[in-house]
C-alpha cells in the first residue's frame, strides 16, 4: 500500500517537474512582460512583482515598437489566406470526393504528392516567380505563397471527410428537383463544416507563425508580419527586456487562445492522417 502510494507520488513529482520545464519559459515571458528591466534582473524572480505592473510595456510595444502595424498586417495576411484557401480546397476536395470526374484518382494523387515535396525544392523558383510578377514586398505575394503551400494537406483531410457523406438527404433533395450546386450548397456543405474548422485552425496557427516566406519576400518595414517584425523589435529593444517580452506575448496570445479553445481539434487534425496509416 505504502509502496503504491509512494510510486504514485513520485509519478506526480516527476510530471510536475516536466510540466514546469515546459511551461516555465512561457510563465517567465508573461510575468516579466509586466516588469521593468531592473526588476527582471533581480533574482530569484518573485512570482508577484514588488512594484506595480508595468502596463506601459504593452503600450510601448504597440506604439513605439510598431507592433500595432505588424499585428494588423498579420491579421490581414492570415485572414485572407484562410478565406481563399478554404474556398479553393473545399471546392477541389468536394469535387474529388463526391463527383469523381474522370481522372480524379490521378488528380488526388498529385495533390497528395505535394506533401512529399520539401520547400527546398520549390522556394527559390516560387520566389523568382513572385518577383517576375512584381509581387515581392506585397501582401498579395505572401498570401499567394501561403495558399499554394498548404493545399495538399487540406484537400487530403477534407476529401476523406467528403467520402463519408450520407446519401439519403441528397436522394430526397433530387426528387424535389434540387440541382448539383443546390445539393452542394444546402445539404453537403453544412455537413463538412467540422472538418473545415479543423483545417482552418491548423492553417491559422501555421500562417500566423510563418517566418521564412515573410523573411524572403517582405523587406519594407510597414508590410512586415509579426514574426518578422519581432526581429526589428528585438534589435530595437535589446536592453529593454520588459517591452521585448510584451511584444513576444502579444504575438503568442492569438495562437494560444485558438489552441486553448479548440485543443481537441488539434488532436483530431493531427491524428486524422497518421494513426491509421
Amino acid at each position: 500500500m505504502l509502496r503504491n502510494r509512494l510510486a504514485r507520488w513520485s509519478n506526480y513529482v516527476l510530471l510536475s517537474l516536466i510540466t514546469l520545464i515546459i511551461l516555465y519559459p512561457m510563465i517567465y515571458m508573461i510575468l516579466n512582460s509586466l516588469r521593468s528591466t531592473k526588476e527582471i534582473m533581480l533574482f530569484p524572480t518573485q512570482l508577484w512583482p514588488s512594484g506595480k505592473f508595468q502596463w506601459t510595456n504593452y503600450a510601448d510595444a504597440f506604439q513605439i515598437g510598431k507592433v500595432s502595424v505588424y499585428f494588423l498586417n498579420s491579421v490581414t495576411v492570415t485572414g485572407a489566406t484562410l478565406f481563399f484557401q478554404l474556398i479553393v480546397v473545399t471546392l477541389a476536395a468536394y469535387s474529388l470526393g463526391k463527383w469523381k470526374p474522370p481522372g480524379y484518382r490521378i488528380l488526388f494523387f498529385l495533390f497528395l504528392a505535394t506533401l512529399m515535396i520539401t520547400s527546398e525544392m520549390t522556394t527559390i523558383p516560387v520566389f523568382l516567380m513572385l518577383r517576375q510578377f512584381d509581387l515581392l514586398n506585397t501582401h498579395q505575394g505572401l498570401i499567394l505563397a501561403y495558399i499554394g503551400g498548404g493545399i495538399g494537406m487540406a484537400i487530403y483531410l477534407i476529401k476523406n471527410f467528403v467520402d463519408t457523406l450520407p446519401k439519403e438527404m441528397e436522394e430526397a433533395a433530387k426528387i424535389d428537383g434540387a440541382g448539383l450546386l443546390r445539393i452542394f450548397w444546402s445539404i453537403d456543405l453544412p455537413l463538412i463544416v467540422p472538418v473545415l474548422a479543423v483545417v482552418s485552425i491548423m492553417s491559422f496557427v501555421g500562417v500566423w507563425s510563418e517566418f521564412f516566406w515573410a523573411l524572403i519576400t517582405i523587406s519594407e518595414d510597414k508590410l512586415k508580419t509579426l514574426p518578422l517584425g519581432l526581429l526589428n523589435f528585438q534589435s530595437q529593444y535589446n536592453t529593454n527586456y520588459g517591452v521585448l517580452l510584451a511584444g513576444l506575448t502579444i504575438v503568442t496570445l492569438p495562437s494560444m487562445l485558438v489552441y486553448l479553445l479548440f485543443s481537441r481539434y488539434f488532436i483530431e487534425g493531427m491524428t486524422a492522417g497518421s494513426i491509421k496509416g
Binding site: N11, Y12, L15, I18, T19, L23, P25, M26, Y28, M29, F43, P44, V88, A92, Y94, S95, L96, W99, K100, P101, L107, T114, I117, T118, E120, M121, T122, I124, P125, V126, F127, L128, M129, A145, I147, G148, I151, L180, W208, S209, F211, F212, L215, L226, L230, Q234, L244, L245, L248, V251, T252, S255, M256, Y259, S263, I267, M270, S274, I275, G277
Partner: protein, 292 residues
C-alpha cells in the same frame, strides 16, 4: 456521369489545379532544369553548364560540414524527442486522475503552437550571458562556474539549439504516443499486470512493440523536421558563432538570398531533398524489418 456534372467537377478543381501548377509543378521542374545552368537569378540569360553546379557543391567542404551538422541536429533531436516523448507519454497515460491527464496533455502541446520567432527570442533572452534565467539559476544553485554565453560559445551553441528544438516539438511526439496508447486494449495491459510485469517490463515488452507504428510516424516526422530546420536556428544564432550552427537550411538561404548564387542554392536544395528522401526510405525499411 452527365456532361454537365463532369464540367462542373473540373470547374471546382480548376483553382486548386492552377495553384498546384504554380506552386509545385512549375517550381519543381524549374529547380531541376535550372540546377544545370549558370543562372544568377537576375537576368533571363543563362548557359547550360551540365553537372558543374553539382560538382561545385560536391567539392565544397562547407557544404559537407553543413550536411554533417544537419544530420547531427536531425538525429539527436529525433532520438531525444522519441525516447523522452515515449517516457513522458507513458507517465501521463498511467496517471489516475483524468483531470491531470487532460491538463498535462494540453500543457505539453503548447510550445508546439508557439510561433518559432517567439520561441527563439524567448530562449535567446533566457540563455543570455549576463542575466539570462539559465545563468541566474546556475549561480543560485552554486554551479556558477558552468554559466556562460550559451549561444555565443562554439562549444555549446549547437547543443542549445538542439535542446530548444526538442523543447518546442516534444509535445507533438507525446500527443501522438498518448493517442496511440489509448487504442491499446485494456485486457492486454491487465493481463500483463496480473503476470506481475513491473513498469520497466511493461514499457519495453508491451507498450514498445504495440506502438511501433506510431514510433515510425514520430521518428520520420521529427527527422524530416530536423533536416529542414531553419527558423529557430536562424533567429537564435544566425548560423554562428563561426559556422558552428550553419545547417543546410541556413546555407541554402545564404547562397540564394545573400550571395545570389541561385544555381548553387537550387542544387543544394535538390541534394537536401534527396538526403531527406533516402533517409526516410531507409528508416521506414529498418522499422518494417524489425516489426516483421
Amino acid at each position: 456521369m452527365t456532361e454537365r456534372k463532369t464540367l462542373l467537377a473540373y470547374l471546382f478543381l480548376l483553382p486548386a489545379l492552377l495553384l498546384f501548377a504554380a506552386f509545385f509543378l512549375y517550381p519543381v521542374s524549374t529547380s531541376i532544369v535550372r540546377s544545370f545552368t549558370d543562372w544568377n537569378g537576375f537576368n533571363s540569360a543563362f548557359k547550360w553548364v551540365g553537372w558543374r553546379n553539382y560538382e561545385t557543391v560536391w567539392s565544397d567542404t562547407h557544404f559537407w560540414e553543413a550536411t554533417g551538422r544537419t544530420l547531427k541536429f536531425a538525429f539527436i533531436t529525433t532520438i531525444a524527442q522519441t525516447v523522452l516523448g515515449f517516457l513522458i507519454a507513458y507517465f501521463i497515460y498511467s496517471l489516475v486522475s483524468e483531470r491531470w491527464k487532460k491538463l498535462l496533455r494540453i500543457a505539453i502541446y503548447t510550445p508546439v503552437i508557439l510561433p518559432g520567432a517567439v520561441v527563439s527570442l524567448l530562449w535567446v533572452n533566457m540563455l543570455s550571458p549576463n542575466f539570462g534565467m539559465v545563468n541566474q539559476w546556475l549561480n543560485k544553485l552554486g554551479l556558477g562556474s558552468f554559466a556562460r554565453g550559451w549561444l555565443g560559445d562554439t562549444g555549446t551553441a549547437m547543443n542549445m539549439v538542439m535542446a530548444v528544438n526538442t523543447w518546442k516539438f516534444i509535445g507533438m511526439t507525446v500527443t501522438f504516443y498518448i493517442v496511440a496508447m489509448l487504442t491499446i486494449p485494456k485486457e492486454v495491459i491487465e493481463s500483463a499486470k496480473i503476470d506481475g510485469a513491473g513498469k520497466g517490463r511493461m514499457m519495453w515488452n508491451i507498450f514498445r512493440p504495440l506502438l511501433t507504428g506510431i514510433t515510425e510516424v514520430n521518428f520520420i516526422l521529427s527527422l524530416i523536421g530536423g533536416l529542414k530546420a531553419f527558423d529557430l536556428i536562424y533567429m537564435m544564432t544566425g548560423g554562428g558563432p563561426g559556422d558552428s550552427t550553419t545547417v543546410l537550411g541556413i546555407m541554402v538561404y545564404r547562397r540564394a538570398f545573400l550571395s545570389f548564387k541561385f544555381g548553387e542554392a537550387i542544387t543544394m536544395g535538390i541534394l537536401l531533398f534527396i538526403i531527406i528522401l533516402v533517409l526516410t526510405l531507409i528508416s521506414r525499411k529498418l522499422m518494417a524489418n524489425r516489426e516483421g
